[in-house]
C-alpha cells in the first residue's frame, strides 16, 4: 500500500464522479486546443495559399523602370547563382480586362507577359501564349464569363521613361488598349493562380505573350521583373543583389554614357538625373580627379527683350566648370547683385537686339505637383554673348525630348504641352534646320535648378573631363571604357531602384496574418472554456464533498491537510491528463467545426473559403497543456478548500452543520451592495449631464449594477432568514424552494454568477456592433462621401480642380442633371497591400494615399485619437499631416481599426513600411480615424507623398461627394464611363464601409455564438449539480415526504430554486448590460440586440431543462429508504 495506490483506489472507486470531471477537462481542452488549432490552420492555409501561388519563385528582382531582358541570363551566370538557381524574366503590370461580347469588366488584373521560360521555371506542363492568345486564371475567367476564343480587351498603363507628371510626360497617353483572344484557363497546378502578392481573395491573372506585350508597350527587349528560384540551395536577397550589381549594364539602369566632344556625357532615358545618380557620378569624378559639369536644360516659351521675342528656345543651366569653357564659366558667375546673369549665343543676341546689361524676360512652362501646367516668368540680365562654337554649339546639352528632338521642323513639334505655332518664324525654322537642339542661352546651374528642379532631379546631364586625354578618342580608349563601366557599377541596382525581395519569405511571414485567429477563437470560446472549467471544479468539489468523512478519518489518523491535498491533487492530475487525452481528440473535431464555420456561417470575417483544417501536433499539445494547467488550477483551488473544514465537519459528513462557523456577512458587507447600486445610479445620472463620457459612464454604471446585483444575491443567500415559512400553494412552495438556495450559497452564487456575467458580456458586446446608418455625414464613417473611385491607370489632372475635371471629361456643370452639386477630392496612390480587416495577410507594403490640401482643410471624418496639442489641430487633426518631423519621418493618419488590429501600432508610434525594400519609409502616426471607410489606407500629405514616392505619378483615387437627393449610382456610372480609358471603378462608400463592418460584426457574432454555447453548456451542467444537490438533501426531502409533501410539491421546490438562480442571473446580467450600452441603444432607436436575446432565450430554455432534470432526480429518489441512517 502506497500513497499512489491509495490515490488510484480512490480514482477507481469514485470513477463516476471522476468521469464527469474528465468530461469537463476534455471539454475545456477540446475548446482551447481546438481554438489554437483554428489559428494554426488559418496560418497554414494562408501560407499554403501563398506558396502555391508563388510556384517556384523564391526571390523577385523588380523595377518600376524596365530593364533588359538579357539581364536574366547575365544574372544566372553569376557565381552566386550558377548551377543552382534559375531565373525567368517576365513583364508584370496591373490592368483592367473587359470581356468584349458581354461588357463584363474585371479590375486589378495581374497581367504577366511571359514566354516558355516562365513555365519551364515553374516546371509545369503548359504552352506559352503566343501572338494575341492569352491564358486566364480560373477566377478571372469566371468573373469575365470568358471561354476559349472569346475576345478580351486589356487596358494597361504604358511604362514611360519620362515621368508622367513631369513637363515632358505624355499625360494623354498613359495606357494602352490591347485586344486579345482567350485560349483557355490555366489551372492551379498549371500555375494559373500565380501571384506575387499575398491575398486570400480570388486571383485575377492574365498570361499573354511577352513579345506581344513588349511591342504594345514600346518596350522591346525589356522586362520589369525576374523570378529567381533557389533550387533548394541557400540563396538570400543580399547574394542576389551582389550578383545583380555584377551583371547590370547601363542600359538596364536607363543610363546613357557617350563620349562627346572629349567629355563623357552621362544622361538618362528620362531626361533627368536623379539625386542618387548625380551623387554617384560626382563621387566617381572626385575619386578619379575628373572635372565635372552638371547641366540642366529647359525649353523657354519666350525670350523677350523689350518688344522683341524669340519663341521656343532651349536654355542650358551650366555648372561652374561650364564643360571646360572658361569664358562661359566666367560670364555665368553670378555676382549675386541684381537679376541673375544669362548668356546668349550670337544668333539669339542678334535676333533680340540685346547688349550686355539688357533685361531679358524668360517665360517657361512648369508642371506643378498638384497636376497642372503653370506659366512662369523670370527676369535675367544679359551678361554676355558667345559665338555658336565649342560648348555653345553642343546640341547634346539638351536631352532627347520625345516629340521635339526628332522633329524635322519646329512646325512638326508634338510636345505634351500646348505650343503656339503662330509664334514660330521662318528664322526659327532655319535655326532648327541648322542647329536643332543647340541651346540659345545659358544660365548658372543653381539659377536653373531654382526655377526648374523637380522631385525627379535637378540635372539633365553631366559631363566628365580629364586633363590627361580627350575621352572617346583612341588615346583615351581604356580610360573611356573604364569610366563608362564604372558608372552603372557604382550606382548599383539598389540605388537605381531595382529591388530584390525574398518574396517567399515575405509572403510566408505575411501569412502569419494580421489577425491571430487562434487567440481570437480562444477569446470567443472564453465562456465555453470557463463553463467547462467551472463544471470541472464543481464536479471535483462534489467528489470531495462526497468523501468528507473519508477525509475526516484520514485527518484523525494523522494525515495532515497538506497530505490530503496531495492525495486529491494526485487524483486530479490523473483525471486532468485523462481529460486532456480525450480533449485532444475532441479538439480536432471542434477545430474542424470552427473551420467549417469560417468557410460558411462566418465567411464574412475571412472573405475566403480556402481555409482548411491543418492538424498541428505542437499546437494540440500546447492547447492540451494549457487546458490541463487551467483544470489543475481549478482542482487545486477546490482541494485547497478542504483546509477550511474542521475535523468535526468532516467526520459528520456535513459542512453546514449546527456548529458550522458563522459565515454571516458583517454589517459592512451587508451594506456594500446598496452602496454599489446607489453609486451605479449616481454614475448614470452624472453621465446624462455630460460630465462623464457616455460610453465610459454607462458602461461603468452597468458593471457596478452587475457587481452590486451579485453581491446583493450573495448577501441575501448568506443572511439568516428573519421570517418564517407561511402560506400555501405553489407560491409558498416556491418560496420554500428558494430558501434552499441558501443551503450551498457557494454553488448558488457560482450558478447565478456565471449566468449573470455571461449574459452581461453577451448583451453588452453588442454595443460594439458596427452600424452604417449614421455614417453618411461629413463627420461619419464615410466622411460625407458617397463614392470612392479608383483607377488602374493614373491620371495627371487633379480632379479636385475644375480645369482638371475638364481635362478628364468630368465637367460638373451646374445644369448637369447627374453631376450638379458633385464635388471631388483627388488623391495619389502608392499601390500595395490592403491594410484593412478584409486582408487576412499582414501587409508588408501597405497602400499609401497622398491626400491633397483641400481634403486636409475639409476636416472630414471623426478622429479616435491624435497627437494634436493646439486648438486648431484639435479642431482638425488632418492639419498634423503638414507637420515637419526630423530624420525624414513622415506624419501619417490611419484608421483606428487598421492601426490597432492590422498594423499593431498606436497613435504616436513610428512605423516602418516597405521595410524590406531599398527605400523603407518611416511614418509617425499622428492621428487615427474612427470607424472610417478609409480603413486599409495609410494617408500622408500629397506634398510628402511626392517626395517619398516620386515614382507614383498622377492621381488614382477620387472621393466623390454628391448633393443631397442626387443619385449616387448614376454619378458612379458616369464616372466609370468617362474615365474608362483609365479603368476607373466607382464604389459606394457606404457599401465599402458595410464590408468592413461585416467583418467586425461577424467576429462579434462568432463571439456571441460561442459565448452563448458556453452559457448553455454551463446552464445544462447545472442540471447535474442540481441533481447532486437533490441527492445530498435526500433525507430532508424524505422527511418532507413523510410529513405529507407530494412528489409534485417537492418538484416545485426544486424547480423554483433552480429557475430562480437562472432568472436572477439573467436578470442582473441583462439589466446591467442594457444600462452599459444605453447610449448605443438610444442611438439605435431602442432596438434591443437581437442575437443576444436569442441566446438568452436559449439559456432560459436550458435552465428549464436543468430544472426538469432535477425534478426527475427527485422522482427517482428512494425517499423512504433515505430515512435510514445508511
Amino acid at each position: 500500500m502506497t500513497f499512489g495506490r491509495l490515490a488510484w483506489a480512490g480514482l477507481s472507486h469514485y470513477r463516476r464522479t471522476h468521469l464527469a470531471v474528465v468530461l469537463g477537462v476534455a471539454s475545456a481542452v477540446a475548446v482551447l486546443a481546438g481554438s489554437l488549432l483554428v489559428g494554426s490552420s488559418v496560418r497554414a492555409s494562408l501560407s499554403g495559399l501563398v506558396t502555391a501561388r508563388l510556384g517556384q519563385a523564391d526571390l523577385v528582382v523588380a523595377s518600376e523602370n524596365p530593364f533588359t531582358e538579357s539581364l536574366a541570363e547575365r544574372l544566372a551566370e553569376q557565381p552566386e547563382l550558377q548551377g543552382r538557381a534559375t531565373v525567368a524574366p517576365l513583364f508584370t503590370l496591373e490592368g483592367i480586362a473587359t470581356h468584349q461580347s458581354s461588357g463584363r469588366r474585371a479590375g486589378n488584373v495581374s497581367v504577366y507577359g511571359v514566354d516558355e521560360r516562365f513555365f519551364v521555371f515553374h516546371g509545369v506542363e503548359a504552352e506559352a501564349p503566343t501572338g494575341s492568345g492569352i491564358w486566364l486564371s480560373p477566377d478571372l475567367a469566371t468573373e469575365l464569363g470568358a471561354v476559349e476564343q472569346d475576345a478580351v480587351v486589356l487596358r494597361v498603363a504604358r511604362p514611360t521613361d519620362i515621368p508622367l507628371d513631369s513637363l515632358h510626360g505624355r499625360k494623354d497617353d498613359t495606357g494602352r488598349a490591347i485586344r486579345l483572344t482567350v485560349r483557355g484557363t490555366l489551372s492551379r497546378t498549371q500555375i494559373g493562380e500565380f501571384s506575387l502578392s499575398p491575398s486570400q481573395g480570388p486571383v485575377r491573372a492574365l498570361f499573354m505573350a511577352l513579345p506581344r506585350l513588349q511591342r504594345d508597350l514600346g518596350q522591346a527587349g525589356r522586362v520589369n521583373a525576374l523570378l529567381v528560384s533557389r533550387g533548394g540551395q541557400p540563396l538570400d536577397a543580399d547574394a542576389v543583389v551582389n550578383a545583380l550589381d555584377a551583371s547590370i549594364s547601363a542600359d538596364d539602369l536607363g543610363l546613357k554614357t557617350e563620349p562627346v566632344g572629349g567629355s563623357l556625357l552621362v544622361e538618362t532615358a528620362s531626361g533627368l538625373i536623379s539625386d542618387s545618380l548625380a551623387t554617384t557620378v560626382s563621387a566617381i569624378a572626385t575619386r578619379q580627379g575628373l572635372e565635372r559639369t552638371e547641366v540642366l536644360t529647359w525649353l523657354a516659351n519666350k525670350l523677350t527683350v523689350g518688344d522683341r521675342t524669340v519663341p521656343y528656345s532651349l536654355v542650358a543651366g551650366l555648372g561652374p566648370a561650364a564643360g571646360g569653357d572658361a569664358r562661359l564659366a566666367e560670364l555665368l558667375r553670378d555676382t549675386g547683385t541684381g537679376a541673375p546673369p544669362i548668356v546668349l549665343n550670337d544668333w539669339a543676341a542678334r535676333d533680340l537686339g540685346v547688349h550686355v546689361g539688357s533685361d531679358l524676360q524668360l517665360e517657361y512652362y512648369r508642371w506643378a505637383d498638384e497636376g497642372r501646367l503653370v506659366v512662369e516668368q523670370t527676369t535675367f540680365q544679359v551678361a554676355g554673348v558667345v559665338p555658336i562654337e565649342g560648348l555653345a554649339a553642343d546640341r547634346r546639352l539638351s536631352p532627347a525630348y520625345p516629340g521635339i528632338t526628332d522633329a524635322e521642323s519646329v512646325g512638326e513639334w508634338d510636345p505634351p504641352f500646348p505650343i503656339d505655332l503662330k509664334l514660330v518664324r521662318q528664322i526659327d525654322e532655319d535655326y532648327w534646320d541648322k542647329y536643332r537642339t543647340t541651346a540659345k542661352a545659358f544660365v548658372p546651374l543653381e539659377i536653373a535648378q531654382e526655377l526648374w528642379r523637380t522631385r525627379y532631379g535637378g540635372i539633365s546631364s553631366m559631363r566628365l573631363r580629364t586633363a590627361d586625354c580627350k575621352l572617346g578618342t583612341a588615346d583615351c580608349g581604356p580610360q573611356t571604357a573604364d569610366l563608362e563601366a564604372s558608372v552603372p557599377r557604382a550606382l548599383g541596382s539598389v540605388r537605381a531602384g531595382i529591388t530584390v525581395v525574398d518574396v517567399r519569405a515575405q509572403n510566408v511571414s505575411a501569412s502569419v496574418g494580421a489577425t491571430d485567429f487562434g487567440a481570437y477563437f480562444s477569446y470567443f470560446s472564453f465562456f465555453l472554456v470557463v463553463s467547462a472549467l467551472l463544471l470541472t471544479a464543481l464536479f471535483f468539489r462534489l467528489g470531495i464533498e462526497q468523501r468528507l468523512r473519508e477525509i475526516g478519518v484520514l485527518r484523525a489518523a494523522g494525515f495532515s491537510v497538506a497530505a490530503i491535498q496531495r492525495l486529491f491533487l494526485l487524483e486530479g492530475v490523473v483525471v486532468a491528463i485523462a481529460g486532456a487525452l480525450v480533449g485532444v481528440v475532441l479538439a480536432i473535431g471542434w477545430a474542424a467545426l470552427m473551420m467549417y464555420g469560417l468557410r460558411t456561417w462566418w465567411v464574412g470575417a475571412v472573405g475566403t473559403t480556402a481555409l482548411a483544417l491543418h492538424v498541428d501536433p505542437v499546437t494540440l499539445v500546447g492547447g492540451a497543456v494549457g487546458g490541463v494547467v487551467a483544470a489543475l488550477v481549478c482542482i487545486w483551488l477546490t482541494v485547497r478548500a478542504v483546509r477550511k473544514y474542521s475535523p468535526r465537519e468532516l467526520l459528520s459528513g456535513s459542512t453546514s452543520g449546527a456548529f458550522a462557523a458563522a459565515r454571516t456577512p458583517g454589517s459592512i458587507r451587508r451594506l456594500m451592495p446598496t452602496v454599489i447600486l446607489v453609486t451605479a445610479v449616481g454614475l448614470a445620472a452624472v453621465t446624462t449631464t455630460g460630465a462623464v463620457p457616455a460610453a465610459a459612464g454607462f458602461f461603468g454604471a452597468g458593471a457596478l449594477i452587475l457587481i452590486g446585483g451579485l453581491m446583493a444575491l450573495g448577501s441575501h443567500l448568506r443572511q439568516p432568514r428573519a421570517g418564517v415559512l407561511g402560506g400555501s400553494g405553489v407560491s409558498a412552495l416556491a418560496g420554500f424552494g428558494w430558501r434552499n438556495a441558501s443551503w450551498r450559497p457557494g454553488r448558488s452564487m457560482t450558478s447565478a454568477g456565471l449566468v449573470a456575467v455571461a449574459a452581461f458580456l453577451l448583451v453588452s458586446v453588442d454595443a460594439f456592433r458596427k452600424d452604417t446608418h449614421a455614417a453618411g455625414d461629413a463627420r461619419g464613417g464615410t466622411g460625407g462621401f458617397a463614392l470612392i473611385a479608383e483607377s488602374v491607370l493614373p491620371f495627371v489632372h487633379d480632379p479636385s480642380t475644375s480645369s482638371g475635371r475638364e481635362e478628364l471629361g468630368l465637367q460638373f456643370q451646374s445644369n448637369d442633371p447627374v453631376f450638379a452639386g458633385v464635388s471631388v477630392f483627388g488623391a495619389r496612390l502608392r499601390p500595395g497591400d490592403d491594410a484593412s480587416c478584409l486582408n487576412l495577410y499582414q501587409p508588408k507594403q501597405p497602400r499609401v494615399l497622398g491626400v491633397p490640401d483641400a481634403l486636409i482643410d475639409a476636416g472630414r471624418f471623426t478622429f479616435a485619437k491624435s497627437v494634436a496639442d493646439t486648438d486648431a489641430d484639435r479642431e482638425n487633426p488632418w492639419r498634423l499631416l503638414r507637420g515637419e518631423l526630423a530624420d525624414g519621418v513622415v506624419p501619417a493618419i490611419v484608421d483606428a481599426t487598421s492601426l490597432q488590429y492590422v498594423l499593431h501600432a498606436a497613435v504616436g508610434d513610428i512605423v516602418t513600411i516597405d521595410a524590406e525594400t531599398a527605400r523603407p519609409v518611416r511614418l509617425r502616426i499622428v492621428g487615427s480615424l474612427s470607424d472610417s471607410v478609409l480603413q486599409g489606407e495609410i494617408m500622408i500629405a500629397e506634398s510628402a507623398f511626392a517626395q517619398v514616392f516620386p515614382e507614383s505619378a498622377g492621381y488614382r483615387v477620387m472621393l466623390v461627394e454628391v448633393a443631397a437627393g442626387a443619385r449616387a449610382d448614376e454619378v458612379a456610372t458616369a464616372i466609370e464611363e468617362r474615365l474608362e480609358p483609365y479603368g476607373a471603378d466607382a464604389q459606394s462608400a457606404l457599401t465599402k464601409l458595410e464590408a468592413y463592418h461585416r467583418v467586425e460584426n461577424t467576429y462579434l457574432s462568432t463571439f456571441q455564438t460561442l459565448g452563448g454555447l458556453g452559457l448553455v453548456l454551463g446552464t445544462i451542467g447545472l442540471a447535474a449539480v442540481t441533481a447532486r444537490n437533490v441527492l445530498e438533501r435526500r433525507r430532508e426531502l424524505a422527511l418532507l415526504s413523510a410529513a405529507g409533501y407530494r412528489l409534485r410539491d417537492l418538484s416545485v421546490m426544486v424547480v423554483a430554486e433552480n429557475l430562480g438562480l437562472v432568472a436572477i442571473g439573467l436578470g442582473v446580467g441583462v439589466v446591467a448590460a442594457l444600462v452599459s450600452i444605453a447610449p448605443v441603444l438610444i442611438a439605435r432607436g431602442g432596438r434591443p440586440p437581437a442575437l443576444s436575446m436569442v441566446w438568452l432565450l436559449a439559456v432560459a430554455a436550458a435552465g428549464v431543462v436543468a430544472a426538469l432534470v432535477a425534478t426527475r432526480a427527485v422522482r427517482r429518489l428512494p425517499l423512504l429508504a433515505s430515512l435510514r441512517s445508511e
Partner: protein
C-alpha cells in the same frame, strides 16, 4: 499519561455562542480504561475530539505524555495524532475503495518515520488476525458485516501503536452480539497494548465494563 485540565468549549453560531463543555478535567494513565457517558448532545464527542487533538478547546489544556498537541502547528499536530492517538468512530468510516488490510495500513503512509512495507503489512495482518479477520484481509468494507467493519476500524486505530485509543460510540451501530464482541475486543487489546483507553458511550452496558466511569452532564463531569 493523558491530562486534561479545565477544558471548556464554546461554539459560535449565527445566534450567539453555544457552550458545550465547561471546566472538565481528566487524567488517564497507561493501562487505564475510562468510559464517558452522557445523553446525546451533552458534549461527549466534543470532549473526545479535544482529547485526541482533533478540536481545540476554548480554554484549558491537554497533555499526553507531557506533550501539549495544541502548542504544535497543524502539520506537527497531525503527526502527533498519527503517532500517539488512535480513533474508532461510531460509523467505522472505512475507506470503501480499500481492502480491510489496506484500510489498516492507510495511517502508516504518513508516518514521520517510514517503516519498511513488509513489516507494516505483517503488523497489519497480525492486528486483523487479533480482531478475528485473518480470512478477510482482501475484502472490501462493502463485503463485511457491521461488526466486522468496526473490528477493521479498531485494527486501523492500533496500527501505529498509539499510546491513547479514543472510541466514539464504538458499538452504537451494532447489534447486541456484535457490540459485545467489539467491547471484549477493545478490553483485550487495551490490556495487551497497555494503552490508555477512553470510550464515549451512551450504553450503560458498555460503560459498566470500565473501571472508571464519568458522566457528562450540564457540560461538566458528575459522578457516574
Amino acid at each position: 499519561m493523558l491530562i486534561a485540565s479545565h477544558i471548556a468549549k464554546r461554539y459560535d453560531t449565527a445566534r450567539g455562542g453555544v457552550p458545550v463543555l465547561d471546566d472538565v478535567s481528566l487524567q488517564v494513565g497507561r493501562g487505564d480504561a475510562v468510559a464517558i457517558m452522557g445523553p446525546s448532545g451533552c458534549g461527549k464527542s466534543t470532549l473526545l475530539y479535544i482529547l485526541g487533538a482533533l478540536e481545540r478547546p476554548s480554554s484549558g489544556t491537554v497533555t499526553l505524555d507531557g506533550k501539549d498537541p495544541f502548542s504544535l502547528d497543524d502539520a506537527a499536530q497531525a503527526a502527533f495524532r498519527n503517532t500517539h492517538v488512535g480513533f474508532v468512530f461510531q460509523d467505522h468510516l472505512l475507506l470503501p475503495q480499500l481492502s480491510a488490510l489496506d484500510n489498516v495500513i492507510a495511517p502508516t503512509l504518513v508516518a514521520s518515520t517510514p517503516e519498511p512495507a513488509a513489516s507494516v503489512r505483517q503488523r497489519a495482518t497480525t492486528l486483523l488476525t487479533q480482531v478475528g479477520l485473518a480470512d478477510r484481509l482482501e475484502h472490501r468494507p462493502g463485503e463485511l458485516s457491521g461488526g466486522e467493519r468496526q473490528r477493521v476500524a479498531i485494527a486501523r486505530a492500533l496500527i501505529r501503536q498509539p499510546a491513547l485509543l479514543l472510541c466514539d460510540e464504538p458499538t452504537g451501530n451494532l447489534d447486541r452480539a456484535s457490540a459485545d464482541a467489539v467491547a471484549d475486543l477493545l478490553a483485550d487489546l487495551q490490556k495487551a497494548h497497555n494503552m490508555m483507553l477512553v470510550v464515549v458511550t451512551h450504553s450503560a452496558a458498555l460503560a459498566a465494563r470500565f473501571p472508571r466511569r464519568y458522566e457528562l452532564s450540564d457540560r461538566r463531569f458528575v459522578d457516574a
